[in-house]
Assembly symmetry: C2
Homo-oligomer: 118 residues x 2
């Protein structure tokens, strides 16, 4: 085994495996963003908020009461959801109505549900 392909020297498997992995793996920055996105889904309060918005928009207070979580906590979590573009907001007088930003929220959550039901 030569020293040309240093990448394969440590491999116990075929070196083609490394090539394939390198080919299909997105850049580190993308993987980091991806992990960040899933981190947002990885909290039960935020999951509950997203579910509450599945059928219609709701204002902060309604979400708070529906979930039995303090207004402050909901507000903090909504900010995280909005920063990550999972929800959008609309102001109406004193109220702020939140709704799902796009269909990816549905599909990601549904894929998760499918995995659980097995």
């Amino acid at each position: 085994m030569s020293t040309e392909n240093t990448a394969s020297e440590f491999m116990h498997i075929h070196e083609e495996a490394i090539e394939k992995v390198r080919e299909i793996t997105p850049p580190d920055e993308t993987l980091y963003d991806l992990a960040e996105l899933f981190k947002v889904f990885g909290d039960s309060t935020r999951i509950k908020i997203l579910y509450s918005l599945f059928s219609s928009e709701l204002c902060v207070y309604d979400i708070s009461q529906l979930l039995g979580v303090s207004q402050t906590a909901v507000s903090h979590q909504l900010k995280i959801l909005k920063t990550n573009k999972l929800v959008k907001s609309r102001k109406d007088g004193k109220h702020v109505f939140y709704s799902l930003a796009d269909d990816h929220v549905y599909s990601i959550i549904n894929q998760g549900i499918e995995h659980i039901n097995e």
Copy 2:
């Protein structure tokens, strides 16, 4: 407004909204499991491990070298991935080969990628 439907008293919106949310929202335990699942995807090391297993099975040491992460860290993360049924393992002498457990891993990650690319 009567006191019959206590659920709607706090709502600023129509009370049908509450009904709908209650209808489509899974039980708390499911939501908790769902958050737990996404939490597993919410770490860049684990995401990298999953990507490395997209094309073929790999042993712990190979993953470790490929990602530039310590063997111990990889081992810890593989355990988490296995506990959550995202990877499975096969023993071969001194080596333990890990591979993806099912297609949900692909679809969940791909949905995430799609959301990011917008």
